[in-house]
Each structure stands twice: as C-alpha cells, then as structure tokens.
C-alpha cells in the first residue's frame, strides 16, 4: 500500500465479478475521490455488485479493491469500521424499534453500550426522526425507515458513507433534507460519500464526481462541471418573440446562433459572445422585437449525457456481438 493509495477513498483496479456465466462487472477500474461521488447506471448495470465489492461482500473473479488503501478482502473488519452503508434493500430486524435498530448497529460497529444509546439518539435527532423512533421498524413509514437506515450507517462516524438509492420512497421535502444532510457530511465533516442512484437530478444537485456504469463497465467518469460543460462555450438565450428572426440577425452579425425547440419553450443557442459583443445581442433583439428573458452560459443536462453514453455503449456492444457472430 502506498501513501497515495491511502489518500484515495476507493480504488478499484480491473475487477471482474461473474455470477455463473454472466459477467456482472467486466474489468471495472475507477477511483472515488473525496467529496460526493454519484454512481449511475441502468437497472442491471452492476451498481449494487460494485458497492458490495467495495465492502468485500462478493468474491471477485479477478482484480483488486482498496478502501483508503486497505484491501477489503484481506482486512474486511478494518474496512467496515471506517465505512457506513445504507443498503438499497429494506433490511431491518423485525421486533426492534427505530432507536434500538440504530443502537444495535452502533454496538455491532464496536461502540460501548451507553455511548451507543446516546449517539443513536443524537444521530436520530439530526436525521429528524422524531418520536417515531420508538415504534417497531416494520411498522415505520418508508421515509422514516430510510432515516433509521441512514442513522444506522453514520452512527459510528465512518470516514466514508455508501448509499444505495438513498432517496427511494422519500417525498420531495424529505428528499431535499436527505440531500442536505449528505452535503453537510461531505462539506462540513469531510466525509466521502458514494451514492448509487437512478435519480439524476439528485446526482446533479449534490455530486462532485459522477461515474456511469453500464453493462458491467465504466462508460463515463468525471466531475459534474466537466461533463455538463458543452464542447465549446455556449450561451442560451430565452426570449419572447420571433426567435428565428433574431437567430438570423445574429448570424448576419458574426455570432453563430441556432434555434432549439424544447418541450416547453424555444431557445437560441449561440456560441458564447465576447463581453464587447453583448451589446450586439441586445441590439439585434430590439431590432427583431424579441424581449430577452434570460441569457446564461449553457450546460448540458446530465440526463442527456447519460442517455447518450448508454446509446454509445449499446452500439459498441452490438458491434462486438456482430463481430463475435461473424467469427463463429
């Protein structure tokens, strides 16, 4: 283990996991850096298996995994001491109340009895669990169960928190609150957060880095800023009036512009003007009778990037299939 490895929260090197003949993870290599990282992918992409491989919960066919430089297969106890997990499945112990559940998790993580109880109440307070914490877990609402599950994952103050679909079943207010807690843990307490989810707006809202997994392979990885930035700087102009005329006028004046029709409105996408050309835009708008509502730097929606990446990966897979059939 090098010092560099110990700094990186998660490093996976060419890991392969097979269930029978089906390859679920096919040579996955990635680094999860500090901050919040989102793991996105379609159903069956291998996200849950990837999460389990980080914890050493599945036997790998090949490859290496390191969590803060520790091999989870050689020293699983050490890894699980510094990692907290919110599993996707609603795993509970029927008969225990919410607070007992969190306390049990704390005790299993090695906290002494009194300390475990004190801290359970503390984190449940922080998660806004209220008096429902005294009810048996199997009778709790989905949202409260999720809070209890989250509290159980952070009660032992782990360095890294892994969450599998953390906003499943939460109403919009609870969802916002959950995302807020994750941001607080990452920004104020220096925790590394690794979120596996389908909900792209969640990833866009809180993540620093995103990893797209499809067909058991990493298809795309990078920071949100870098991925959502268009290939060349662009601005989007939203306005009311004859946008086609405005686009033509701008092109006449040397500013490449095109009209894009979206679901709810039309916009003009134009190559980012220099500060001195801004007046040209205002003047052209005034001449064509368009009232500008906003002019802002353009970003590519994560959803578009995700869908595009999946399409590309499908095309690659199809080509590979055809090549294989041809060779047979």
């Amino acid at each position: 283990m090098t010092n560099f490895d110990a700094i990186i929260p998660v490093r996976l090197n060419n890991i392969v996991k097979r269930y029978g003949r089906r390859t679920v993870l096919d040579g996955v290599s990635l680094d999860v850096t500090r901050g919040i990282t989102g793991l996105v992918g379609p159903n069956g992409a291998g996200k849950s298996t990837l999460v389990r491989s980080i914890l050493g919960l599945v036997r790998l066919a090949s490859g290496q995994a390191r969590v803060f430089g520790i091999d989870p297969y050689r020293a699983p106890r050490r890894v699980r001491q510094i990692v907290g997990v919110v599993p996707e499945d609603e795993c509970t112990i029927p008969g225990l109340s919410g607070v007992e559940m969190v306390r049990y998790a704390a005790r299993l993580s090695g906290l002494p009895s009194t300390e475990a109880l004190r801290r359970s109440h503390e984190v449940l307070d922080w998660c806004d669990a209220g008096q429902e914490r005294y009810r048996p877990v199997e009778t709790l609402s989905v949202g409260t169960r999720q809070k209890v599950s989250f509290a159980a994952a952070i009660v032992h103050d782990p360095d890294m928190i892994i969450l599998d679909e953390p906003t499943n079943g939460l109403d919009p207010i609870e969802r916002q609150a959950m995302l807020g807690r994750l941001t607080t843990l990452a920004k104020d307490h220096g925790k590394t957060i690794f979120v596996s989810t389908h909900v792209l707006p969640d990833v866009e809202a809180i993540c620093d880095q995103v990893i797209v997994l499809a067909g058991g392979r990493v298809r795309l990885t990078g920071t949100i800023d870098a991925l959502t930035k268009p290939p060349q700087p662009e601005h989007h102009l939203v306005g009311i009036g004859p946008l086609k005329n405005l686009a033509a006028k701008l092109s006449e004046r040397g500013l490449t512009a095109r009209v894009e029709i979206r679901e709810t409105e039309s916009i003009i996408s134009l190559v980012s003007p220099n500060p001195e050309n801004i007046n040209t835009v205002w003047a052209a708008a005034a001449e064509t009778g368009v009232s500008i509502r906003s002019l802002s730097p353009a970003t590519r929606p994560l959803e578009d990037i995700f869908i595009e990446t999946l399409r590309q990966s499908e095309q690659v897979s199809n080509k590979q299939d055809q090549t294989l059939r041809g060779s047979h």
Partner: protein, 367 residues
Amino acid sequence: MPLQDVGYRPWNKKRCGPSTTIWVIALTGIRLAWESRWLRRMVFFAWSPALIFAASFFAFEQAVDEGRLTSLGTAAQRGRNLDGVGMLGTVLADALGGNDGDVDVQTTRHLVWTRLLLAFMRAPQAMLLAAVLGLVAPTLISRDLRAKAWLIYFTRPVGRAEYILGKSLILFLLVLVITMLPALALWFTGVLVSPSVSVAFETWDLPIRIIAASLILAIPTVFLALAYSSLTAESRIASFAWFATWVACWIAHGALTTADLVASTQDGGVSTVLSATKADQASRSSKIEVSPLRRNFRWFARAAGIDTGQDRWAWVSPYHALGAVQAAIFGIDTRPSSWWPSSMTLLLMSVSSLVILSWRITAPASS
C-alpha cells in the same frame, strides 16, 4: 424538533472487540425471542418437572434421616414387581437391589441422586429442550435471510464466526436455563434437605457432571437447529425439519429396538440387548416376571435413563444418543459399547451442522 439537537458530532473513542459483538448479537436475539409469549410459557413450564424431582430428593433424604432406607428399598423392590412404583421407587429398587442388610448411605445417596438427576435431564428436560429450540431456533437465521438483515451484520465489522457464535449463544443460554440451571438447583435442593451440609462434599462431582451433560445436550442440538435455520428463508420449513428429525429418528429407533426384542423373544427370552450385565440379567430374570404393563413402562424408563439396559440402536436417534452419552457422563453406564457409537452420532451431527453453517453464512458472500 428535538429539545437538544446537537447536530452531527464526530466520534473517535476506543471501540469494543469481537467478543462484545458476540454478546450483543446473543442478548439482542434473546430479547427478541423473549417477546414470544409461548417461549415464556415454555421456559416457565420447563422448571415445573424440577418440583416433582425435588419431592423425590426430599422423600429419599427423609427416609435416610428416619433410618428407613432399607425398608424403603424393600418396598420399592416389591412395588417394582407389582408395577406400582414411581420414579423414585424404580431408582431405589435399582440402587438397593433388594438388599435386606445394612445399606451404605453415602454410596446409595450418590447413586440415587445421580439416577434422579439423569432421569430429570433425560425425560422432561430433553423433550422440552426439543420443543423450545423448535420454537426459537428456526427463525434465528432464516428471518435474517428473509428480511435481508444479513447486510446489517456484514456491512459492519462482524465476521462469520461472530455471527454464528452470537446466534448459537442465544440457544445455548436457553438450553442451559432449561436444563443445567434446574438440575443444579435440584442438587442444591438435595443438599438443603439432607441431614448435613457435608453431603455437598460427598456429591461434589454431580454439579460437574450436570454441566458436562448439559453441554453435551446443547452443542449438537444447537448447531443442528441453526443449520436447519440457515438452509431456508422460511422458518416454518426449518421448524418442520427440526421436529421431523426428532420424530423420524425416534420412530426408527423404536422400530429397530422392537425388532431386536421380537428376535430375542423368539430366541428363548434371554435378552442380551436389555441387560446391563449378564449377572444383572440373571438376577432380574429370576426375580421379575415382566408384566405387559411393566413392558409398556419400559420405553419411558429407558428414555429417562432409569433402565440401564444397553440400547444398541441409541445412535440412530439423536434423543437416545444424547441419553447414552449422558448416562456415561453420570457414570451410570460407562461401557464404551454403550456410549461410543452415540457419541460418534453426536459428533457427526455437530460437525456436519457447522459445515452447513459455514457454507451458508459467508462473508464475503459466495454469490
């Protein structure tokens, strides 16, 4: 909004070790199991046979105190011939053997207490143990599989060994509460009702034998029950498998023993199967004419360890195998041919159950 929301605070104090984890799993498991009204009733009921046995201890010590031991033995012997004796009578008749002369009180007491304790652990307690384990054990692992609670354990610093030991400890504690504790209480009661406290020194080995016999009872049964629980997410199936094992093996044992009895009857009625020794057999044959009622009583007597006849098919049934090994531990029947095959059965039961547990409970998971 809580009154004292201190927010999220770091925690970096010293953590407890794996042995604490085992206790945490065990105590939480007991707490959850104890919520079952049926378990509470059964554990309460499991102590009630101890009252009957305590009365036997009292009756025996009263006879010793009043110097009526010889006459009691003679009466017991007569009573046994008339099929009208109870448990204490049978034990006394065996212990005194119709001896009309002076009786060595110390030796007789040791023998009678040993027989009574063995009978207590065999007949009521072992059967109650099967019932209590059948109630608690099937849910212990199958419920975790069903509720996916295994992720709660194995995403935390809990290893396979701690998990298995924690779950086993739940059952061990229950088994000890319904077998070892009442048996020790009986021995203590015996000392209290005896004429002198020095009796405790005369019978000092009995508590050790009780502990050893309880452990022999607990280890294979607990592991077998847990192995069944780990094989399915449906606790009902595990329950069925547990009870089916006891009943089916008991029936198989009964069938084989009956076949032996029939064969021995056809051979002239001298059974080497039932006799403890040839001399004992000869002595019994000369004195006792076994009536049909007595023959019917024999199954209980043998199950309870009161009848010391050799049971060559004991290894077929876990219940009878446990009895044979416990009889050896209490020094009632120490012939290797009596306990060796049975101890092999129990060893095989324990080892195969542990292999199943290790195979089913994997961290990292095999699939």
